[in-house]
């Protein structure tokens, strides 16, 4: 499993820095092993440098920068170990308008290999999906689904 881990780590690290540069439009990011001599026990650190800034302790990053860096790492893991399904529950909440658009474009790149289910309150995100469901509680306490886009049968 030592080789398995190192192979995954190397591939994910390479993709992570590519996806980071794509989402941030520049800058640098990479992973590093806290104890490279012991691949079976070592932890993994994250370095991230948004464009124009110095490399700093990731705890100093802003709420939106942390979310975007996390998404970059998530997608890197996805590329390595493609899973047919990905659920993202309001991941756009900390992002500004420009980054919400960026995230939408990014998801559309993957949509041929992954099915995404995205919960959101953001109108920009709603416009980039392929099909849209609404959930209501017309009857208090009882959830009901409505299909709000692309017609077809009303699921209920």
């Amino acid at each position: 499993t030592r080789e398995l881990f190192m192979k995954a780590y190397d591939a994910i690290n390479t993709t992570f820095s590519a996806v980071f540069q794509n989402l941030f439009g520049g800058g640098n990011a990479s992973l590093s092993l806290t104890d490279p001599d012991d691949p079976l026990e070592t932890g993994v650190d994250i370095f991230a440098q948004p464009p124009g800034k110095k490399i700093q302790n990731i705890s100093l990053m802003s709420g939106g920068e942390k979310a975007q860096t996390a998404l970059a790492l998530l997608f890197a893991m996805f590329e390595y170990r493609t899973s047919p399904l990905c659920v993202l529950d309001e991941v756009d909440a900390p992002l500004d308008e420009a980054n919400v658009i960026q995230l939408g474009q990014f998801l559309r790149k993957y949509r041929d290999t992954v099915q995404f289910v995205v919960m959101t309150h953001n109108k920009t995100t709603m416009e980039m999906v392929d099909s849209l469901y609404g959930v209501t509680m017309e009857e208090p306490g009882c959830s009901k689904m409505l299909s709000v886009k692309l017609g077809d049968s009303l699921t209920s």
Partner: protein
């Protein structure tokens, strides 16, 4: 494999039988605060074998069963079914596979694949084979997107191991 349909019945805030059809690409789910969007994410996590009630935001596993509302009485069972389609089924294998999970208020749990009773372990093994095994990065719950960044180095290692 692709996800085709999710059916909820008596699960959390869904007392009535509810079917959600998934098409390829991106499916958006919208609605006011508290209407049941994250409960759908929980239903996906649960039917795929999640055993910790904490990860389902409950105080006990019983909290997945519809607990009643102003007008409706509590129910005795929660049931979720996920239908998957194999786009290239090998000779003699089914094109559609349905996994089902039930939980009864007294504590009984039942699992089925294509209607046949199985153990939880069988469901987890099936999902592992088709790439849906590790849910830690396939389902990002509300408010937890930055967990990967805030996690300790050992926890990040575990996530990479799951992907390996």
């Amino acid at each position: 494999y692709v996800i085709r349909k999710l059916r909820l019945f008596g699960f959390k805030s869904f007392p009535r039988e509810t079917v959600i059809r998934f098409s390829p690409g991106i499916t958006g789910i919208v609605g006011p605060n508290g209407c049941g969007k994250s409960n759908i994410a929980d239903a996906l996590l649960w039917v795929m074998g999640e055993q910790s009630f904490k990860n389902l935001r409950g105080g006990a596993m019983e909290d997945v069963v519809f607990n009643g509302s102003d007008k409706l009485a509590p129910m005795g069972m929660a049931e979720v079914e996920l239908q998957l389609e194999n786009l290239n089924p090998p000779e003699g294998e089914e094109r559609f596979v349905t996994i089902q999970r039930q939980y009864f208020r007294e504590g009984d749990a039942k699992y089925r694949i294509n209607g046949k009773r199985v153990r939880l372990k069988d469901i987890q093994e099936f999902l592992l084979e088709i790439g849906l095994g590790s849910k830690s990065f396939a389902i990002i719950e509300q408010g937890r997107v930055s967990t990967l960044i805030n996690a300790r180095p050992e926890e990040r290692r575990r996530m990479i191991e799951e992907a390996a």
